[in-house]
């Protein structure tokens, strides 16, 4: 038992983790679909709250859709480590020879595929209800596509920190939502800046920069937080 060969490379393990997460997500469709329905409900509440004046709705649309997306992404975050923590497979991941940061990265990517991508695909339908035109819808989708992986990555830190903690759900939103603010600003700002004739390139570049930064740093923080939660 001294030299148990690690037959799988890190890439193969990450792929296996992603496949497993997606298989689990598809088997429990409710957990994947509920945040999406939540996204639709939240976005539909705003016109009811502020009135159906089309110029107002058009002006609010990017912000409303982005805030709804943040909240929807938040809903499914808690699930990221909770079930693995409950059945002990998280401990196996911590013990495995593959670096924990890479496993965490794979889980965050799976979270993006299960919660972020559906949001990206759903957003134009809601955007039409707010009266956004084709170009604005395209920019909105692009900003969500670049922004939601960042949400999953930053969110994974919060999910790991609140693992097995009292009132984890509310606490998670208190910890993570302030950290989401830059993504919200640049995501919603991209559409608005383009509508104002300023071009959306700067905002998209900054969203990409945030994505790269969080791709690098957040798996480290999440891995550290998981080790603390499991000790």
């Amino acid at each position: 038992m001294t030299t148990a060969p690690n037959t799988l490379g890190a890439g193969a393990v990450m792929l296996a983790v992603i496949k497993r997460e997606i298989a689990l997500g598809l088997r429990q469709k409710g957990e994947v679909l509920t945040p999406l329905v939540f996204f639709m409900v939240i976005a539909s509440l705003f016109p009811l709250g502020v009135g159906a004046e089309s110029s107002l709705l058009l002006r609010m649309a990017p912000g409303v859709l982005w805030v709804s997306a943040l909240l929807a992404a938040m809903l499914s975050l808690q699930r990221m480590f909770a079930t693995d923590y409950a059945d002990g497979s998280l401990e196996q991941m911590v013990l495995s020879p593959t670096p924990l940061g890479l496993l965490v990265l794979a889980k965050a990517l799976a979270h993006f595929l299960l919660s972020g991508v559906p949001l990206v695909l759903m957003a134009p339908v809601l955007g039409l209800q707010f009266g956004l035109d084709g170009r604005a819808l395209g920019i909105l989708m692009l900003s969500l596509l670049l922004g939601t992986p960042t949400l999953s990555l930053i969110g994974s830190i919060g999910a790991a920190l609140t693992l097995g903690v009292r009132g984890a759900g509310v606490l998670l939103s208190l910890l993570i939502l302030p950290l989401y603010i830059p993504v919200l600003i640049f995501g919603a700002g991209a559409v608005e800046a383009d509508a104002a004739g300023l071009g959306f390139g700067g905002h998209i570049s900054l969203l990409s920069a945030l994505l790269v930064l969080s791709l690098f740093f957040s798996p480290m923080a999440t891995a550290a937080a998981l080790r603390i939660s499991l000790e």
Binding site: I157, L161, T162, V165, R166, G167, L171, L174, L175, L177, P178, L179, I181, P182, I185, F186, G189, E192, A193, A196, L198, L206, L210, L213, F217, A221, A224, A225, I228, S229, E231
Partner: protein, 245 residues
């Protein structure tokens, strides 16, 4: 003292730091009181009336030091947190959690004094200015830190988990600040800039004294609070029984 070498690491033990802090805090508290009295006297009676803002400007003598301290304390807190994670020292986490309420208090004070100042100067209690907004977010970060710490029962785990959060927050604070600043310039045409720093020298003196006074207050109160935390955490030990008795 018999040998002249001071073993600094001695004070990383909560027990010896408890006594050291007990000796230090009255000095800082006394300094804070004296400086506050002098600083407030200068700011109310010596500093001249501002040409544009009248008497209302005098709130900056509280507002500016409070805003500075709210940001500085977050960095100091994150530094303690990082120290605690790196060296696994118990005292560092206690220092971080002793600093958090003071930092949150200063952030809150900065927002309240800002609102009181903003009403006569800008005509509104609150404007979505970059500095106001980022101070508000800083307050949320403090609250998150304290909430996470409070919701974990094991104090060592609470220290370490909130230390990770403090470090993540410290990395994010500049990003949040600049993104809010840019958002602000995109949204707001009307500028709410402060007037240039053409301050009378007595104003500047008053402000500096107030800044130092707030420093002293923060140090004193953090030491008092860390002493309480030490007693609470070590209550099962013999030395605490002797210290309290």
């Amino acid at each position: 003292m018999k040998n002249r070498v001071i073993h600094w690491f001695k004070f990383s033990s909560p027990q010896s730091f408890y006594y050291l802090a007990g000796k230090m805090w009255p000095w800082f508290a006394a300094l804070a009181t004296v400086l506050l009295v002098v600083g407030l006297w200068i700011s109310f009676f010596v500093a001249p009336v501002d040409a544009q803002q009248g008497q209302g400007y005098r709130i900056i003598f509280v507002h500016v030091p409070a805003s500075q301290m709210s940001m500085l304390i977050y960095l100091v807190m994150a530094a303690w947190a990082g120290l605690g994670l790196t060296f696994n020292t118990r005292l560092s986490g206690m220092m971080a959690s002793a600093l958090a309420p003071t930092g949150a208090l200063f952030a809150f004070l900065s927002l309240v004094t800002g609102a009181l100042w903003g009403k006569p100067m800008w005509g509104a209690w609150w404007v979505w200015d970059a500095r106001l907004t980022s101070t508000l977010i800083l307050l949320f970060l403090y609250l998150g830190f304290m909430a996470l710490h409070a919701s974990i029962d094991d104090p060592r785990r609470a220290d370490r988990a909130s230390a990770v959060l403090a470090l993540v927050g410290a990395v994010n604070v500049p990003i949040i600040y600049f993104s809010v600043k840019w958002w602000n310039t995109l949204h707001q045409g009307a500028s709410v800039s402060m007037k240039g720093s053409s301050m009378a020298s007595t104003m500047l003196t008053g402000m500096l004294i107030m800044v130092v006074a707030f420093w002293m207050y923060a140090i004193a109160i953090a030491l008092v609070r860390v002493r309480n935390i030490i007693l609470d955490r070590e209550r099962h030990t013999e030395w605490v029984k002797h210290a309290v008795a």
